[in-house]
């Protein structure tokens, strides 16, 4: 029950967080920004549009978007969104994300356009560097909380209260959130300049329903990573039992926490320029450093 609710809320709320970040960035630029429901309007609009497929493309182009969405929905089972219920191995979660990314990169190559190939190549380069970092971060998390299961991690934090080590890991998780959702300084989600794109270049050839699915999958991924961050940093408000009050409170708490993180992401993105492509590993090193420090602390403390 809670598991299903987790999926439902993650899918439904994701476009809101996406738009809210845009809104915050617009405010920082003294603009009004889009209406808060713009993400839903765009999704509905894209569903009505025709899906154009290049004659050069294969079945991968057709299936990459549905596969991405399906994988993200499955991954939503792993993260406590509204409440704690079910189980989710953190390494499996990581590789579910990798699976989605694999198909997305293939689709980028599949249409045969130069921009798609360029985006896929960059995305894979970045992934190759960020993946070991992510593994270390997750290992630190598992070590500190004594479990590989994300739901149990949230329970452990609820039971033991906040720890200094978790704050350090949260910083690493935040960097992973920025990298995986293709935000400044890694990528610029707002740009129209194909030559600078990473994530957007990969989905440039997507259209209609497929584009809608791709974008929704991307939004869900962001929500899940936010959910993971919240389970570690501030799991309070998660429903631990299946009562109406607990669930409603859980949903409310998640929306509030999600908007807070979105607000922070918006500010973070507004506070700096995009980094040079080859200087990105510096940012990843920071995440690596925080988690490695955590492991050292925990082992020798």
């Amino acid at each position: 029950m809670i598991a299903l609710l987790n999926i439902l809320v993650a899918v439904l709320i994701s476009p809101l967080f996406m738009t809210f970040i845009k809104k915050v960035k617009a405010w920082a630029q003294r603009r009004q920004g889009p209406p808060l429901l713009q993400g839903y309007y765009t999704f509905m609009k894209l569903l009505k549009k025709e899906t154009v497929l290049s004659t050069n493309s294969s079945w991968i182009m057709r299936w990459a978007a549905p596969i991405n969405l399906a994988v993200m929905i499955i991954a939503a089972l792993f993260i406590p969104i509204v409440g704690i219920g079910g189980s989710g191995n953190i390494l499996l979660f990581l590789y579910l994300l990798a699976l989605a990314k694999f198909f997305m990169a293939l689709a980028g190559l599949d249409a045969g356009s130069t921009f798609g190939g360029m985006g896929s190549s960059r995305e894979m380069t970045i992934s190759a560097v960020i993946e070991p970092v992510t593994v270390i971060v997750f290992a630190a998390l598992a070590y500190v909380l004594g479990t590989m299961d994300i739901h149990r991690m949230a329970l452990a934090v609820l039971a033991n209260g906040p720890q200094a080590a978790l704050v350090l890991i949260s910083m690493s998780l935040f960097i992973i959130l920025i990298v995986e959702t293709a935000r400044v300084p890694v990528d610029n989600p707002e740009t129209h300049l194909e030559l600078t794109m990473v994530h957007e270049a990969m989905i440039l050839e997507q259209s209609g329903k497929n584009l809608a699915f791709m974008e929704l999958a991307h939004a869900i991924k962001q929500t899940l990573l936010m959910g993971l961050l919240m389970s570690v940093l501030f799991p309070y408000g998660l429903a631990t039992e299946t009562t109406l009050v607990a669930l409603v409170f859980g949903i409310g708490a998640f929306i509030v926490k999600g908007l807070c993180i979105s607000f922070f992401v918006g500010l973070f993105e507004s506070s700096m320029a995009k980094s040079r492509l080859f200087l990105l590993p510096n940012l990843f090193m920071l995440a690596y450093f925080f988690s490695f420090l955590t492991i050292l602390f925990e082992v020798f403390a």
Partner: protein, 491 residues
Amino acid sequence: MKSNDNYTQMDENKFEKSISELEKSHDLVCLFCAQQGKRFVLYYIFEKGKQLLMMTKHLTGTTATSIAAQFPSACWYEREIRDGFGIEFDGLQDRRPLLLHEPYPDGFHPLLKSFKNQKIHTKKDVIDSYPFMPITGEGIYHIPVGPVHAGIIEPGHFRFSVIGETIFNLEIRVFYKHRGIEKLAEGKQPRECIAIAEAISGDESVANAVAFCMAMEKISEITVSARAMGLRTILLELERIYSHLGDLAGMIIDVAYPVGASAFFILREDIFQLNELLTDSRFMRGMMDIGGLKRDIEQDKLRQAGEFLTTFVQRFKKAVEAVQVPSVIDRLDNTGIVKRELVRPLHLTGPIARAAGVAIDTRRDHPYGDYSKVPIRLGEKGDVLSRFEVKTAEISDAVAIIRQVIASLPLAERRAVLPIKDGDACSLVEAARGQTMHWVSIKKGVIDRYKVRTASFCNWRAIEHAVLGNIVPDFPLINKSMNLSYAGTDL
């Protein structure tokens, strides 16, 4: 025909010798062709510091000798003349068409007097037949970009040869915007042509209109009143301010720091509104006239402008300080270097040349308008950061110039009304992008030949050199830092 400039006629025998002598000391400002009866005359305009050297060469047939080996910037001019008049240049390596794209029929040369805007039969199935420079090798792949782009920008094709992310070669192809402006002007009354000059490039309206009027005034020996001169200077500098503000904002947007860029956009909008207050047009169109201005600007409005600029300086300073963020500076620094050695051979002008450390400015070298003193801002490295800084400084200078002109502006006639004479003349103006040249020839009171060379025509070549060794994601930034005009290149 009477000419208002002094031309030296070049002899065919001594041609090569004199060209190789000029190569050492002179820059090629422009090379163009005019048809006189059945014969063709090539005009070579050279520049040495503050002196112009104008030469003509009367052709006996339809062949000429290429000077592209001595003056690399001549390559595009010669290709342009080849397309326009069908003149072949001996020794010209690059014989691809420049402005006539593939569908045009063979033997079609629109600038010939015999061509009278009639219907032409375009060729079919010739798309993609333009021979780009073949670049091959292990690991090299090509990224063709444009001419249709994702943003609201002008059309241009960029062909990158890339190894990994590093740019190995870039070949640009512009000239997708040909409107036939030079042909359009022929046979027009000079006053009708002011609007045509304003339409050459949207954000260089004032510079082009002033340059055209200056050439006409030179031909007709009209002296412009001090007031009209001052007002022209104000409008020219306002144009520089809004153009540079757009560039600064664009550079900051391209490194994904829109928070810093928004302040520049707001300032730019305020300048547009000031333009509208002064001239009823955000791009200051419809103001210039031969002999002065079409309308005067009231003293009261000028006073308001002066007051606005006082607050503008403070706001601009704050906006510049707000983008001094390490992540922004890191992107601009050392990116897209234009080497100093390229400035003369390619005749680069404007902020691009000054950012590379070369002190050239038409306002100082070939004085016009009401500039008592033009500070020349030089960069060192010639990278994007230098261009950013030069443009920043030039905005402040432009504000200072405007305020000074307003303070000392005399009351006088806005326009000197004198008859228009026949003849030809060349004029030079420093537009926001660099040196703009206009050459007008009047015969029987109407325009016989109108040649315009904006700064972008020469400056486009700089980008092919500036991007080498940079990575592909930095290209849009380098491009924006130069902000070249496609329309201004392709008349």
